[in-house]
Symmetry: C2
Subunit: 183 residues, 2 copies
């Protein structure tokens, strides 16, 4: 089992929006969820994707998407627009849960059972890092992790990087899944 | 320099559509283009993304996106919806060109200067493959490459795979870029 947490600075915490991009870049959240959970014609049953949405009007919200129980889903953004709309309106979708929870509370709870890795430029090269058997990877959105958030996460985890390039968040997740697949 | 060709079975060859998914899964084309060309806050100047669109009403069309000259672009699908609409209406965008050309003609022309690799399950593991210095990777969309198209490409190239998992096309491209970055 492995997990990802995306820290979304501005992701909307209601359903009063019409497109993902203008909803505080929820398009990035969707791209990351798809990279985390989808194979070709299959869902990764052993992966869990979390995001903490810190945008208006009701932050922070914890959105959790569990590969083991996720159903009625496709990879395209139209489908995800409908699903996020539904879930952020308080309705249910199989495999997705929403709760009032901060990044700090989530990381602290996860640290009891998982090994936490914080993706940052300048972190230790993942090729030189021993990855635990229950890893949880923390990533920022296009603006990166706020300094105080990164500091908090590093109390519980290790700073790693994927090398010299700075990748899009969804690309980082695709690469991390690949590295775990090849282990 | 490295290149990708996505063979799109059904991608629309006009601009009479309102969303990418319903335009013969042009959303997959966009996800692949973003994975091929974008770093975080930067464009890969040394990458070129091609797709051959084989959907109605005017197939085949060759859409080429050149990282070196691509401008006025973002990663989100709203932006790409507008750009593909524009280009498929015959208007211009910096770094993108459109022409009437088949997959076979493109592959044959590229084979003169590039090393061609066809991504398929059951191909030789990329970890055991020496990748040339001017690689071109051929991928299918969610349905995969048609048999006759694969056969044609293999006259000029080598069948490789990324391991035991079958990944989404955009994930394959993200992984390939990563493997090239780490070389």
């Amino acid at each position: 089992m492995h997990e990802f947490i995306l820290y979304s600075r501005l992701g909307r915490t209601d359903s009063n929006w019409t497109n993902l991009r203008d909803a505080g870049r929820l398009d990035i959240t969707v791209e990351c969820a798809v990279a985390a959970l989808f194979l070709s014609h299959a869902i990764r049953k052993d992966a869990v994707f979390h995001t903490i949405l810190n945008g208006p009007p009701n932050p922070p919200l914890h959105l959790q998407i569990n590969g083991e129980t996720l159903h009625n889903i496709r990879t395209d953004q139209q489908t995800w627009t409908q699903i996020l709309h539904k879930v952020l309106s308080g309705k249910l979708h199989p495999g997705i849960s929403l709760s009032k929870m901060s990044f700090e509370t989530l990381v602290k709870a996860k640290a009891k059972h998982s090994q936490i890795y914080v993706l940052e430029e300048g972190g230790r090269d993942i090729a030189q890092t021993e990855i635990g058997d229950k890893p949880l990877f923390v990533l920022g959105d296009h603006v990166g992790l706020p300094k105080n958030v990164e500091r908090f996460a590093l109390r519980y985890g290790t700073k790693i990087s994927l090398g010299k390039q700075a990748y899009l968040a969804a690309t980082c997740i695709a690469i991390l899944n690949y590295i775990l697949d090849r282990k």
